[in-house]
């Protein structure tokens, strides 16, 4: 038998076998239900699936949880507005007491009234160390939370913490349900009940989350009556299902989003983000910990080339955790790519080129390893580009791939290509990245960065309730990062979404590193318009 005839035979038999089984199993009555055809339903494809839907375990802690509401919520410009609270909180002069008046007449989707006891229950449960909530650290400042009557909740803090109000977008769970079961494994973690615009109808793990509109939502019943989030980890499959009409919208990497550029029936949205990629330069490494090396690397790296080549233009050069278009960014701290300047810095500091082109100082070769998460193509490309730029300045960076289990024990001495970013407040990123007392604490301050001026400034930034004072503090931090860059920030990454045109013009928020189901143009799906006016309500 020739190779060709075998191939034909293989194909023929395979097809016969498959069609035989197909005929044997399929139900002749089954009609493939057309999805996404009704204008009051929307199906979106996301790459991420929450582990739990319980706010007590960390679900929706940054807002937009669909099923729940926080005391406050963030609008399209990332400004706080009241949600379950009737107005923004009153803050005492010493910044230690936050008083929230609650919205009246709000009901959970099971019909029971929402009240101060639910807020107290939610926060106290999260703060309880028996609750397996990995984000509890974010509420470290809270000393106590108490109800004053039915409609007022008072938070007392251990220390003045200016961004505290941003933390209260955290969703509120009903005490009468969640309080009666095991917080870590009870049914509430998969069958949540909240006050939010949508009610969960089904969570088929690994497949999809289905929601239906809450007709009694206090903010008005959503027009999109049925909302489904299909969990599709594979980018190509997500793109294909979007093209076939199975999905109305999806998050896509730049190269696949490009394929929809000419599709008249679909719109592409690029969401700005705080999602940075950075290289940690550990203080304990003889080379990476050297200020001259850090400063040289900071200008030797060609950030714009990374944006163009790695991100296909969907992103921005990053000079610190704060993106250049943020109101908190310090103008004038942009670094221009300047290889000659990098070489000059190294020469002056005594790092002289050796025979192989790699610089040497006091017998120490300018070389260190750079780890990236294996399988993460984006980080790999950033790491390779960084190493190649460093090589031109005479610094030999060896890129190595590993899982976090491999990388974590090496973080004290080896550089890591890390990512992160929370947009709600400048404190969120900078405190954990730069505070010297957090060096080596879990994944906080991975570079063991230690700078007294920065420590003082970020402490001042979180304590002061005055915006101008805070801005001054974060300006100091960003200027100090120019003088002693313990991290080389590379890029801020835009997140791309493609959505069906029939929902009109949509908006996106500034997005964090973890762009889970709360991000994307569907951050406010409850406000989407399904009419023919073509405009989404704000």
């Amino acid at each position: 038998m020739t190779a060709r005839s075998i191939r034909v035979a293989v194909a023929a038999t395979l097809a016969t076998a498959l069609s035989l089984t197909a005929a044997a199993c399929s139900n002749p009555d089954s009609a493939k239900s057309g999805s996404g055809s009704g204008s009051t339903s929307a199906v979106v494809g996301i790459a991420y699936e929450p582990d739990s839907l319980s706010p007590l375990l960390g679900y929706g802690k940054d807002g937009n949880s669909k099923i729940f509401d926080g005391l406050l919520a963030l609008d399209v410009d990332m400004k706080l507005r009241p949600a379950l609270a009737a107005q923004l909180p009153e803050v005492s002069a010493d910044g230690l007491t936050y008083t929230y008046k609650l919205r009246q007449g709000v009901k959970f989707s099971d019909g029971k009234a929402f009240g101060a006891k639910d807020v107290v229950f939610t926060y106290r449960t999260i703060l309880d160390e028996k609750t397996n909530n990995p984000s509890r650290t974010e509420l470290d400042a809270v000393k106590d939370v108490t109800a004053q009557g039915e409609d007022t909740v008072v938070f007392t803090l251990k220390y003045p913490y200016a961004p505290f109000a941003q933390r209260t977008v955290l969703p509120i769970a009903p005490e009468h349900i969640a309080g009666r079961q095991d917080v870590n494994t009870g049914a509430f973690t998969t069958e949540p009940v909240g006050t939010g615009p949508y009610v969960l109808t089904k969570w088929s793990k690994g497949e999809k989350l289905s929601f239906t509109a809450n007709p009694d939502y206090w903010g008005g019943a959503p027009e999109v009556k049925k909302f489904t989030m299909a969990i599709i980890k594979d980018d190509d499959v997500r793109a294909t299902r979007l093209r076939s009409g199975d999905l109305d919208g999806a998050i896509l990497p730049p190269n696949l989003a490009k394929g929809f550029a000419d599709d008249k029936a679909k719109k592409t949205y690029a969401a700005n983000s705080y999602d940075y990629r950075t290289v940690t330069l550990p203080t304990n490494n003889k080379v990476a910990g050297d200020t001259a090396v850090r400063r040289a690397l900071d200008v030797a790296v060609d950030r714009q080339a990374m944006v163009d080549a790695i991100l296909n233009g969907s992103g921005k050069p990053a000079y610190g955790p704060v993106p250049t278009d943020s109101e908190w960014f310090t103008k004038g701290t942009e670094r221009t790519h300047d290889l000659a300047a990098a070489k000059k810095i190294l020469d002056e500091a005594g790092w002289k080129p050796g025979k192989d082109g790699v610089r040497v100082k006091d017998g120490v070769r300018a070389t260190f390893p750079l780890w990236y998460l294996s399988g993460d193509k984006l980080r790999q490309e950033h790491a390779l580009a960084y190493a190649s730029d460093a090589k031109k300045a005479g610094i030999d960076i060896r890129t190595e791939a590993g899982t976090w289990e491999v990388i974590e024990p090496r973080m004290k001495h080896d550089a890591v290509l890390a990512g992160g970013g929370s947009p709600a407040d400048p404190d969120f990123d900078q405190y954990t990245l730069l505070k010297s007392s957090l060096a080596g604490d879990g994944f906080n301050n991975m570079a063991w960065y230690d700078n007294k001026a920065v420590d003082a400034a970020i402490e001042a930034g979180r304590k002061s309730g005055d915006k101008a004072e805070r801005k001054k503090a974060y300006d100091t931090v960003q200027r100090e990062l120019v003088k002693n860059p313990g991290y080389t920030f590379l890029t801020h990454i835009d997140h791309l979404y493609v959505v069906d045109d029939r929902f009109g013009a949509l908006t996106t928020q500034v997005e964090p590193h973890d762009h889970g189901l709360a991000s994307g143009p569907w951050w406010n799906v409850e406000k989407w318009s399904t009419g023919n006016t073509g405009d989404a309500k704000q």
Partner: protein, 330 residues
């Protein structure tokens, strides 16, 4: 068969096997705990997910204590075993649910998939095997045999991806994955049936070659034996000879195969469920393993081990029934 079934010896064999299964299950669960503990994956990191990347060390240490993974290996295993014996399989850390709930939710879908696939493999394998054995070296035999050898070497997940590419992407006739369409919330018979086709076909076809090759060999051998020659000499129809005589004796080795294919079926289901996002137990196994979810992992291993032991018992029983010369071990 009109003769009375030998219930006594069969029950004795089942009882003996059940007794033997107890230490096996104990050893297997301990093995799972030991391997999971030795693996580089950290259950706390897996539990915390991305939140763990910003959590403080104190927060992570508290989680470690809450999840009970700071206990020594033997203590953890013993705790699990003693409560499992009393019917409490513990809580799954990755699913945030009691293990019993996870299994109850998913077991049915896995059984449906595996049973359909097994049926496809047995029926198709037997049918094609008989046809191929009728004319060894004929075009059907040569085609199917070469395909069978190819399939034997093809991993199930590769077949799965190929099937998705062809039937879901190119032809767009069958859904690529899931239990129902993305927009549909209710699990209807029609939806499940159309979504079952590809995974069941792929899993069935990956098991098919063994059944086909066994039947083909068995029937071809039987066709050369005296009883068949005798039957032909008596002028019986070819159909009776083939199905009544040759197939019946050629089927014997296949009964053993049914038992021994069960572990392969479970491994195959593991890959197929992952590829097709089928919400079954095997997909949960993968998640449990990578998250070092001790309770869930151990419970699932017990299930898989039990399935293998049952499969072996079943094939031995069938063998004993089909061939009276074989005793129910002693």
């Amino acid at each position: 068969m009109s003769r009375r079934l030998p219930w006594g010896p069969m029950a004795r064999m089942a009882g003996r096997r059940a007794l033997f299964a107890v230490p096996v299950l104990g050893v297997v669960t301990f093995g799972v705990f030991a391997v999971a503990a030795a693996s580089p994956f950290d259950p706390v990191k897996a539990y915390a997910g991305t939140a763990g990347l910003t959590a403080s060390q104190e927060n992570l240490d508290q989680l470690r204590a809450n999840l009970g993974v700071d206990q020594p290996l033997v203590a953890r295993w013993w705790d699990w075993l003693t409560s499992a014996v009393q019917g409490d399989f513990g809580d799954s850390s990755v699913m945030r649910q009691p293990v019993a709930d996870v299994i109850a939710e998913r077991m049915g879908w896995s059984v449906l998939l595996a049973a359909t696939a097994f049926l496809v493999a047995i029926l198709l394998g037997t049918g094609l095997g008989v046809l191929a054995a009728r004319r060894p070296g004929g075009w059907l035999d040569r085609c199917v045999s070469s395909v069978a050898y190819t399939l034997e070497a093809a991993p199930a997940f590769w077949l799965g991806l190929l099937a998705i590419w062809f039937f879901a992407l190119k032809l767009d006739v069958l859904p690529a994955g899931g239990l129902t369409d993305a927009a549909s919330d209710v699990v209807t018979f029609g939806q499940v049936a159309s979504h079952l086709v590809l995974p069941a076909a792929v899993l069935g076809i990956s098991q098919l070659p063994w059944f086909f090759l066994y039947v083909r060999q068995g029937v071809a051998d039987a066709l050369a034996e005296d009883p068949v020659r005798g039957a032909r000499a008596r002028g019986l129809s070819e159909r009776t000879v083939l199905l009544g005589h040759a197939l019946r004796s050629g089927m014997l080795p296949m009964l053993t195969l049914i038992g021994s294919r069960v572990p392969e079926l479970i491994t195959g289901a593991l890959l197929v469920e992952t590829v097709f996002s089928w919400p079954g137990i095997a997909a949960a196994t993968v998640q449990a393993a990578t998250s070092v979810d001790f309770s869930l992992l151990a419970a699932l291993t017990v299930l898989a081990t039990a399935a293998v032991l049952l499969g072996n018992l079943l094939s031995d029983l069938l063998y004993g029934l089909a061939d009276p010369r074989v005793a129910f071990d002693g």
